[in-house]
């Protein structure tokens, strides 16, 4: 991980740390802290997706399903079986990793549109299961009264506590993922993205690496799902449907797939756009949303971080060689 990334990381951490104190004095934007909690939760999903799509070059429209599997595992274990939420969270990641392995092994042999469709199909099936297994999931009307997360026996209810908990996890995950990227494993993933045949020829087991990164992205989505469950304390299948998988993909895309920072910026931005800034359009919001996507996909395929400069690209690449 280069010095440059550490500098950005420190800057971002300082900004995130200070954010609540910047907005809370102003009533009109005080609820931005709440928006940021969701943005943080979604960031976890999007960081995983960015590793999968931007680095390893594999498309997934199933992230909302993994988000949901984590969420429902946590929800069911804590509210129906009385398991400790933190243990339930770990169980969720285990379940997600297992499911991701089962699906990933056959699915990741596919490419492009076929892979997109296979993951999409899987995502929709999972959503149907959430809606149909009424005894476990509460069905379409959802599951309510899920216990709060506890920290040394104290309920975490305040927005600020959640804010720092979620963003703390986001930064830990970011550091982890940056380390992965700037390592033997990360290089192999980028190699797979660029030329699978050449990667094989230098001894990269491409199939197993693809499955591994798919599993990592699923695990991150699962952690996000568990956090979501205990934050909202209620689950509903519609929070994990296909639309959300698409949204996650767009968040990553808008921010820029080439870097994890893109995932972060895109998620925060799109969460605000979707929940806050497009509200003024009222009925027209859906059109504005579509238009933003179209413009980004057509004219800014590198996402927002690519606006930084073109020089950055070369620079970053050079630094990746130098980083320790």
């Amino acid at each position: 991980m280069g010095r440059r990334n550490w500098a950005i990381m420190l800057g971002a951490a300082a900004f995130i740390g200070a954010f609540p104190w910047l907005v809370m004095p102003f009533k009109a934007v005080s609820h931005y802290v709440d928006v940021m909690v969701f943005a943080g939760i979604f960031s976890l999903v999007c960081i995983g997706l960015s590793l999968l799509m931007g680095y390893a070059g594999q498309i997934s429209l199933a992230q909302a399903a993994f988000f949901g599997i984590g969420a429902y595992t946590s929800g069911i274990l804590t509210s129906k079986l009385g398991v400790n939420p933190w243990i339930a969270m770990c169980a969720g990641t285990a379940v997600c990793a297992a499911v991701a392995w089962l699906v990933g092994v056959p699915a990741l042999r596919l490419k492009g549109h076929y892979l997109a469709m296979a993951t999409l199909g899987f995502g929709v099936i999972v959503n149907i299961i959430f809606a149909e297994e009424v005894n476990w999931t509460g069905g379409p009307s959802g599951m309510a009264d899920i216990p709060y997360l506890r920290f040394f026996g104290r309920k975490i209810t305040s927005e600020l506590a959640w804010y720092y908990l979620v963003w703390g996890i986001v930064f830990l995950v970011l550091i982890f993922c940056f380390h992965v990227i700037h390592s033997r494993v990360g290089r192999a993933l980028r190699a797979i993205h660029e030329d699978e045949r050449a990667a094989e020829s230098v001894g990269v087991p491409t199939a197993s690496f693809k499955v591994k990164v798919f599993m990592l992205s699923a695990v991150l989505a699962s952690i996000a799902g568990s956090l979501y469950t205990h934050y909202v304390t209620c689950l509903n299948p519609s929070s994990f449907n296909l639309m959300w998988s698409i949204r996650f993909m767009l968040m990553v895309m808008v921010g820029g797939m080439q870097s994890l920072w893109g995932a972060l910026v895109g998620t925060v931005l799109m969460t605000f756009v979707g929940n806050e800034w497009l509200q003024v359009f009222a009925e027209l919001e859906i059109l504005a949303y579509g238009a933003i996507l179209l413009v980004v996909a057509l004219f800014l395929p590198g996402g927002i971080v690519s606006l930084g400069s073109l020089r950055r690209k070369k620079h970053a690449s050079a630094l990746e060689g130098a980083g320790t």
Partner: protein, 295 residues
């Protein structure tokens, strides 16, 4: 028991014919451009709603409304390619997926603003009660649906086998560079594929509206099932799409009838996954050809 079975078959075939038509829409664009148009379902929705507009608001006769709706959708398909997809021809698969998704959001949003959120219905193409066959009821509209679907399949097959344009389109599909070299205007063929695909989707939308009504949100799910059928039958295979559409329709109908109606929507997708995992080129696809396509 026998009656029930027959009834499941009838409703399976009816809905299967619609899936098949949506799937054919995917196939036409795919075979010429290798793009999966995620907005395909929206053309089905638009077809139905435009027909409602022409028949209900402008009081055109039903057949004219049908033609107008299909024509309008065709123009929209052309516009979509001319102004949006055409600009992104060199983009990555991912960008193209996003672009077509964005278009579908725009179409859906516009339809919501234009028609509101209520469902609309059309009168059936021919009046009269259901036809009873061995205790099972066949709605006259179901006959129209299967008939029009059959016409579309036969028409397209003839078009691609016999007509110059059809041959030219297939040539573009097989090798765009070579097609350009022998003087086929590839650009126009792409336009044509979008027009045709949108028009067929819209036709499916018009004929299903009297049975199931139409509202702005209907497109996505029909599009998804249609894609399931397209992939199931092998992308680019018209006959495959027809058979796969019917299989999906029947499978759904039987699942709802004999197993769990709640998991009905999952059936199509499980079939889709199984095909993708076991025989990715589809039931009727050609493995060698599938390998040559760039993804």
């Amino acid at each position: 028991m026998g009656t029930d079975f027959l009834q499941y078959v009838i409703s399976g075939i009816t809905i299967g014919a619609i899936y098949a038509m949506v799937a054919i829409g995917y196939n036409i664009i795919y075979s010429v451009t290798e793009i999966i148009n995620f907005a395909q379902g929206e053309f089905v929705m638009l077809g139905g709603l435009f027909a409602v507009f022409f028949a209900g608001t402008l009081h055109l006769p039903l057949y004219l409304a049908f033609i107008c709706a299909v024509a309008v959708a065709g123009c929209l398909g052309l516009a979509m390619d001319r102004f949006i997809i055409g600009r992104a021809r060199e983009s990555s698969v991912l960008s193209l997926i996003i672009i077509t998704i964005a278009v579908s959001i725009l179409l859906k949003g516009s339809a919501m603003l234009a028609w509101g959120k209520d469902p609309y219905s059309l009168p059936a193409f021919s009046s009269g009660g259901p036809i009873m066959v061995a205790g099972a009821a066949i709605q006259p509209q179901a006959l129209w649906i299967t008939g029009i679907c059959a016409l579309v399949v036969i028409g397209l097959t003839l078009f691609f086998r016999k007509s110059v344009y059809g041959q030219a389109m297939l040539a573009c599909a097989n090798n765009p560079q070579a097609a350009r070299l022998v003087g086929i205007p590839v650009r126009y063929m792409v336009f044509l594929s979008f027009i045709l695909s949108a028009a067929i989707g819209a036709a499916a939308g018009v004929i299903i509206t009297p049975v199931s009504m139409m509202e702005y949100e209907r497109g996505a799910l029909l599009g998804l099932k249609g894609f399931g059928a397209a992939a199931f039958g092998g992308l680019g295979q018209f006959f495959g799409a027809l058979v796969a559409g019917l299989i999906l329709g029947l499978a759904e109908s039987f699942c709802a009838g004999y197993l769990s109606s709640g998991y009905k929507d999952a059936v199509a997708l499980v079939l889709l996954l199984m095909v993708l995992f076991l025989k990715p080129e589809g039931l009727f696809g050609n493995r060698e050809a599938a390998r040559l396509k760039k993804f």
